[in-house]
Symmetry: C2
Subunit: 508 residues, 2 copies
């Protein structure tokens, strides 16, 4: 707090308020901006329009709502001071990672200070024998896996975009590998969180500087500049699961400043397969049968005919334009051969009319690159249009009916949409193309998305499998969790953020 107090002294004891008396949102007082600079240094604060606009939107269609200032803290001490400063002055706080979210989670709906955490990008501690790593919030999952390349370990959660790991924690991200390796929920062991008022919470135990006997004072004694999050044990039954509370909290409960993540042994060998089906039902049945046969598939992705057509064109594939599964298997050579054979038998029993596999890294990369480029391939179907992705998740047995309904809804609404999904989890996305100049089409897209969300709820699913609630799904969340669920969430929010300043307007 020393810097903060010095800053306070410089301008008198808090003589400024966060917002100018004449302005409200959109105009931070000069004194407040100077106080931000005193914390992080002048070069790490910006109020430039271009910078603010860049931080006012993510990759979704939600309109840009820029913050009043952007700051780049260099360490957790600065994050704590920034939180205390903003909170004491009633200024909203919006955490920012890579800006690759899809539900408007970074839009500054009430203005405020955007805290960009990408300068904190150190991998603090790798524990090979314990299969864990401690990262600062700015480390992306690709950067982590590059760092891990020769360690025999990897971090499997891969949402597609090269998101920051703590952003992925905040979103509760998952992606293509979740069917085997779980989502962020299952892969976070401990978090360091700066609470709205600036206090430092370790969700699953104190850090390395914990000193038995010093009791309750320990967190205050930790030197700020040292790695702080305990590598942690693989499991715990000690008190309430605070880690789980912050995974998926979308920046509304605190700022995640470090995470201990669970690592997995890198697969010895990998093989990829694709197969086309006469119907959506046949593709989903194959998925269920593969899971029931306990084939430990690493990825099982569904792409509909529209997506396959787009991928063929965009990525120069020569696949059938039909409902298709992309599968990936991890294991030893011998195990892979058996997995592949089983998967082929099961898919053929379900009428697959094309099954081909690729072991060579180049061909595998080409296929997965096509899958990961599906978003751009679909966008290329109607140049100049923007994309919007839905994100419902249902029990797997309900997938065929909701996919068929969705296809019919698209037709009825005259919308262009491509479907692809993490079908092993029951999660799928409908990529909709919309003319940004056509408000009527935009309206139809939003109505379609809401209808799809309600269809998922009626089938015991969720309105969001991995993108989060953000701005756009707050009404659906109410319908999903009901009155008591909403009231419990509101009380949780009020408990941790009584002034409602942490990423306001999101989730609730």
């Amino acid at each position: 707090m020393a810097n903060l107090l010095r800053a306070a002294a410089t301008w008198g004891l808090f003589p400024w308020r966060g917002y100018c008396s004449r302005g409200t949102q959109g105009e931070l007082s000069k004194g407040f901006v100077e106080a931000l600079k005193a914390v992080v240094g002048s070069s790490h604060v910006s109020t430039a329009v271009a910078v603010r606009q860049q931080h006012g939107h993510d990759e979704s269609m939600h309109r840009c709502q820029p913050p009043d200032a952007v700051v780049w803290p260099q360490n957790v001490e600065q994050v704590s001071q920034l939180a205390a400063l903003c909170y004491s002055q009633g200024v909203p706080i919006i955490p920012f990672g890579t800006g690759t979210g899809l539900e408007g989670g970074v839009c500054a709906v009430q203005g405020g200070v955007c805290i960009n955490l990408t300068h904190m990008d150190k991998i603090l501690e790798l524990n090979r024998e314990d299969f864990s790593v401690v990262v600062e919030p700015g480390v992306t999952h690709k950067a982590l896996n590059t760092h891990l390349r020769d360690s025999g370990l990897w971090f499997p959660v891969d949402p597609g975009a090269d998101a920051s790991l703590c952003g992925m924690v905040a979103t509760g991200a998952s992606g293509t590998n979740a069917v085997r390796y779980g989502t962020m929920r299952e892969n976070v062991l401990n978090l360091e969180v700066v609470l709205p008022g600036g206090e430092l919470l370790h969700t699953a135990g104190l850090g390395r500087h914990f000193r038995p006997g010093l009791g309750l004072e320990t967190d205050r004694l930790r030197p700020w500049h040292l790695p702080c999050v305990s590598p942690g044990s693989r499991k715990s039954a000690a008190g309430y699961n605070l880690t789980g509370l912050f995974v998926g909290s979308e920046g509304t409960l605190g700022l995640i400043t470090a995470a201990t993540l669970r690592l997995h042994p890198a697969p010895e060998a990998t093989v990829v397969a694709t197969c086309a089906f006469p119907s959506v039902q046949a593709a989903v049945d194959s998925t269920v049968h593969i899971l029931q046969a306990a084939v430990p598939v690493a990825r099982i992705e569904f792409l509909d005919d529209v997506t396959m057509d787009a991928c063929n064109k965009h990525s120069q594939l020569n696949c059938s334009v039909a409902p298709t599964l992309f599968l990936e298997f991890h294991g030893s050579e011998q195990v892979l051969a058996e997995q592949l054979q089983r998967a082929e038998e099961i898919t053929q029993d379900n009428g697959a009319f094309h099954f081909s596999s690729a072991k060579e890294a180049e061909e595998r990369s080409r296929l997965w690159a096509a899958r990961h480029s599906a978003w751009y391939a679909v966008l290329a179907l109607r140049p100049g249009y923007k994309g919007y992705s839905t994100d419902v998740c249902v029990p797997i047995s309900r997938l065929p009916e909701i996919l068929v309904q969705t296809k019919e809804d698209l037709k009825a609404q005259g919308l262009t949409g491509a479907i692809l999904g993490h079908v092993g989890d029951g999660n799928f996305h409908c990529l909709l193309l919309v003319d940004p100049e056509d408000p009527e089409e935009l309206h139809r897209v939003m109505a379609f998305s809401e209808l799809l969300g309600r269809r998922a709820l009626a089938l015991h699913g969720t309105c969001t499998g991995e993108h989060g609630i953000g701005l756009g799904k707050r009404q659906l969340l109410q319908e999903e969790v009901g009155a008591v669920g909403m009231e419990t969430m509101r009380r949780l929010k009020a408990m941790l953020d009584p002034r409602g300043l942490m990423n306001p307007g999101k989730v609730l």
Copy 2:
């Protein structure tokens, strides 16, 4: 609420208070007991001393603290009415499953009403294609697996005792299969919880009677007698993770009245292996190497020389009296052969001097029965003595040092202790034998347990991997999570249970 209101009318509008004016704890007013009977029926309420004493302790050494009354609700509506009744009258509520806990979680430290949930023991809904099941709180994990026998599915979490599944949710239980299949945290999809005041919360979405369009009133419209918990999707990013909040809450936040659990495909074949090592270090190194080699071991259990000696005597085994691993592998015949070969190579590289495997069901059962009987085998070492189990968990790399230290501490304290552990998770138990007539020895056992807890914390571990905090580890929890962690947990508790009546005196 109809019954409840009728009951209230019968005795005038709440003319009674929960406790008699002359008595405090230990004496419920006659009117209150009548009100309990009006909710669940006379035959489902008992104030008999023997019954109360039976419900005042679990399998641990914590002294019996009986509740003032025991009630057996038959359905969730009754649970809700009981909670509302107790809460309005300031009477503590203690949920009770099978009483097989190990940290005094059911001791009625402030008296109150014990709600025994074992009469609610229906398996409400099995979804084979979705790998999920909805159970009432009284179903035990063995009963569930018996029910699943011909379904091709199973529920792998097995804490040893035949605990009730919702008790296992409340404890955050795990056990021998966690290394491959996860703990309760990873295997609960949705919970129905009666909150302290009687409100009904669905932690991950409303039940089957959810009706889009009816909005916030839906939870109140659900017919009470029908299955209520949504089968749920395999993943979700919708709002705060309320499910995770109640897993491991030890009955202090609400009463769990139904759970949707994740099922797994039953293994096609199973093989068991045992191997003895020259040292603890060699056994732990083998564990790490097996995990690093991505051998998907289903169980990997460590037993020290004392435990092996006890098992040899008690279960007529003929194993070496040395640090030993019990391993189990699940998969197809071909995959098993490869896994077994790899494990044998790795253990022999680490100096294992005996490796034997068993495929036949009979021999496998004999070995695991010996492992599961270890508690009784160790007890038999000193007839008439009682057992106490520690439960620390550390990062695997720190296991050898803490195991060696623990052995030395046992010797220094003159205590008889046997060590066995879920070594793939870094979790181990030290089973201590104590003369119940010797308070000095009891004191040494408690001091040893506390020292072991502190050693685990100093090594970035936790004081409890799977037994929970209960009564005995509240001080260690404070040291583990620190001031901010404790304050956050206290606020969580106060938010959901403002009068502090849900299983008071536990966890915090």
